[in-house]
């Protein structure tokens, strides 16, 4: 018998005057001791499942059909007090933001004490129990950690504390909602390993909610893929990722850049997932509007579930059974021929002076690099590696303590008016977060032509250029009159890129521009960068923590670790034969590719 089972669960909310089914007929079984992954892009409803189990649906959301059974009892039918007794004891949660989930004004020990008190542990026993729990999750100094506050711990340590908290009641089920999203790659790997160790040791079932296919494949026994509130496919993780049956699952895999095998163009889905307000207009398959093989019947009739193989079924209209087209993956465009470097950085470093007894902080030890026209160079590193410092030094937002920056043969290191102008003309930056990088009070047209505003260009010229830029980045010029909050995340990031392109720079500095975006949108943007490079010959410096993104885009790579450059060289070479220990550790920390490499990507 399964520990947790959802049977045709539908969650309905009243939005804009109409009833919207935010989750539609979600069914799954999670056996005791099993790990089930819920995979989907943002807005797919995967976190809603977690909230449903916790009884934390937002106001106005209700379960309009279906049953949630936990350990043989109906979770929805029980009185609230009975459910509360289950939560934190038999059902535990591991949250997404570890540092935000701990009370900042109480010590870890105090918070542990509260939890243990609730579990009925005698006062005298609590410190020992807490220390034992912390030791079990691999924290080095358990007694010391108990006396500390959340801000004195790193993100990874906080997550370990929360895992210890979750497991100390020996729960039957742990719901982990994106438990590693806020963490660095190497920390993610250790946390995932810990979670799996704890799960195996305690025989706990885990509901693992994530947007990361690679991670889901690595961690889970079974996986269910959600799209816009609809479950579309479920099955054993290995099968689902090697023989995906639903067009959406296949598209997700095709949009995920790989760490091994030949580099081929990603196939990005067009558009974005429909929002909840569009659900009512789609009584049938919600994926139909983006589906390559959809026929008109798909949009009208709800998906039908059918078995593909043992334990693997797919919710897709009967039309899908007609068969799947296979499209050979397109080869990557060849990198432009390297010419005279457009950017030359020699010994660039940054030291923040100390004072009053504080030692000086070395943010970046001297780094040298060269970028040729049309070349894409990746800068890889985790948080605190100095990659953002390097970016800020390059664009002139910070003054370097040593070294020179040479653009097109001219030394522009010294901060003065003439150098600023030269820097601006040759080098532009795309900021990480379009939410804060686009002034909410300007229209798209105003934003993308800001560079012309400085030059006092006439309105007509600006308008024409705005339309040109929007077309170049794949947006309709009609969007020019919109404000940023009226755009989707992917569209905003395109506008962000267009603005940097307005004055036709020779180098684009892209700082983590796809982090926080969904896989399908990420693939669109990565392909956009490649196309811009080919069409405009612009060189791109890609700053990223995501090795698969760097491998997909870059010709050459620079690896930073704690403010020091540990490796640099051709990307292919680095991924095949990493030379530094840190690079090897970084590569090992990435969950492996889900697909056997030899097989062509089905589409």
């Amino acid at each position: 018998m399964s520990l947790l089972s959802l049977r045709d669960v539908t969650v309905t909310a009243r939005l804009g005057g109409i009833d919207v089914e935010l989750l539609r007929r979600v069914s799954f079984e999670l056996a005791a001791g099993g790990v089930l992954g819920l995979v989907g892009e943002s807005g797919a409803g995967k976190s809603m499942v977690g909230r449903l189990i916790a009884g934390l649906l937002p106001d106005g959301f209700r379960v309009s059909a279906g049953r949630v059974m936990f350990d043989g009892a109906d979770l929805l039918g029980q009185p609230a007090a009975a459910v509360r007794r289950l939560l934190g004891r038999r059902i535990a949660f591991i949250p997404q933001e570890p540092s935000a989930a701990l009370d900042p004004v109480r010590t870890i020990g105090w918070q542990f004490g509260q939890h243990l008190a609730r579990l009925g542990v005698a006062r005298g026993m609590r410190p020992a129990r807490a220390a034992a729990a912390l030791a079990e999750v691999g924290l080095r100094d358990p007694a010391g950690v108990l006396g500390r506050y959340a801000h004195q711990l790193s993100g990874g340590e906080c997550q370990r504390v929360l895992i210890a908290l979750a497991f100390c009641s020996a729960p039957a089920l742990v719901v982990a909602d994106e438990p590693t999203t806020a963490l660095d790659v190497t920390t993610q790997a250790t946390i995932v390993a810990l979670l799996r160790r704890m799960q195996a040791a305690h025989g706990t079932a885990v509901l693992f909610i994530t947007h990361d296919l690679r991670l889901a494949h690595d961690v889970c026994d079974d996986v269910m893929v959600l799209y816009a509130g609809d479950p579309v496919e479920r099955g054993p993780a290995d099968r689902l990722f090697t023989a995906p049956a639903h067009p959406y699952t296949r598209a997700l895999l095709a949009a995920n850049p790989r760490l091994t095998g030949p580099r081929t163009m990603l196939r990005a889905l067009p558009d974005t997932m429909p929002g909840p307000l569009a659900f009512a207009a789609a009584p049938g398959c919600r994926f139909a509007s983006r589906c390559e093989i959809a026929d008109p019947a798909c949009a009208a009739s709800p998906p039908v579930w059918r078995l593909v193989a043992e334990g693997h079924d797919v919710g897709c209209a009967p039309a899908c059974q007609a068969g799947l087209r296979r499209v050979a993956a397109a080869a990557m465009p060849a990198p432009a021929n390297a010419g005279v470097p457009v950017l030359r950085v020699a010994g660039l470093g940054k030291v923040y002076p100390g004072g009053w007894g504080r030692p000086a902080t070395v943010a970046l030890e001297p780094v040298s690099l060269e970028v040729a026209p049309g070349e894409i160079v990746g800068i890889v590193g985790e948080s605190g590696s100095g990659k953002s410092t390097l970016a800020r030094l390059l664009v002139g937002l910070e003054t370097p303590s040593s070294g020179t920056v040479t653009l097109d043969g001219t030394d522009v290191t010294a901060a003065n008016r003439a150098n600023d102008a030269r820097r601006r003309a040759a080098l532009q930056m795309v900021f990480q977060n379009p939410q804060s990088a686009l002034n909410p009070r300007h229209t798209v047209n105003q934003l993308v032509t800001q560079a012309m505003e400085v030059a006092r260009a006439p309105m007509a010229a600006r308008h024409a250029r705005a339309a040109e830029l929007l077309r170049a980045i794949g947006l309709s010029p009609e969007l020019g009159g919109r404000y940023p909050f009226q755009l989707s995340g992917g569209q905003r990031q395109r506008v962000n890129i267009a603005r940097a392109l307005c004055a036709t720079p020779r180098i684009l500095l892209a700082d983590e521009i796809v982090s926080g975006l969904d896989v399908s949108v990420q693939a669109q943007l990565l392909n956009l960068l490649l196309r811009l490079r080919d069409e405009m010959g612009v060189a791109i410096l890609v700053i990223s923590h995501d090795l698969s993104v760097v491998r997909y885009l870059c010709d050459r790579v620079l690896v930073l670790h704690r403010g020091r450059m540990v490796e640099s060289g051709a990307a292919a070479e680095m991924f095949a034969r990493p030379r530094s220990d840190y690079t090897r550790a970084l590569l090992a920390a990435c969950p492996p590719d889900p697909l056997p490499v030899a097989e062509g990507m089905p589409t």
Binding site: R424, R441, T443, Y483
Partner: protein, 290 residues
Amino acid sequence: MNPLSRPVRPHLSRAQLPAQGWAGGLLVLLLGIVAAAAPWISPAPPNEMDLLAVLLPPDWSGPGPHHWLGTDNLGRDVLARLVWGARIAFVVAGGAAAGAAVVGTALGLVAGLLGGWTDWAISRLVDLWMSFPPVVLSLLLLVALGAGLGNVVLAIVLVDWTRFCRVLRSEVMVIRRQDYVSAARLIGFGPLRMIRREVFPGIVPTLLTLVALEMGIAVRVEAVLSFVGMSVPADVPAWGQMIADARGDMSAAPWAILAPIGAIVLTVIGFNLLGDGLRRRLDPRLLGRT
């Protein structure tokens, strides 16, 4: 229309004011019209004395010339003085709020944008300034400057600029850390264009809200100052003065004192509701939740 030349304040032009904001706005508008149209709608000259008709109660009987709200102890028509008094109230409210807004915004921008020692100096100045009780400070200023309408406005500006400076400084600091400010700098915006195009539009909602609230405060302060005779000359009708004049006969002729009090209360409520409504509508934290 060329989309590039659209107004920069989408959230204001598309503003849906909450009901209380509308109520406040209407009240303020009504009082503003009364003040502007005083020469035409006033039932009698405000200073015309009729010593044979002192302390007449309000008279609502039939058509013909009446003292709708009665007369005061010099036989002057209360309604006429009330209507003319609205002019003084609005002149002071507008002038003082505008002045305090200009001084406070300028210093707030400087402190928020430059940071460092400048910010420290301006912030300490504000702290020092705010440690004086406002009424005492304005009385002191008026003793030093001398009475008169212009000096009343000046005194309120000098007392209340700190409110603008303090709030806007923190707002500017939040905006300054946004990536779009860095982005504009990298694109080549100079400091003035940066303020005009990127920073200032962001503080406009707060500024408008503060101005509305400040106007209410200015009306109150002017009433206090004219009550103690530090404001307009005796021949100019002002609400505070009316209260002071009617104080002696308060029990015999309560209408003469209740009328100006009511006017002050209504005006302040109007401005406060408007300010509160604007704040709720334009709160930057709610931006984009359309």
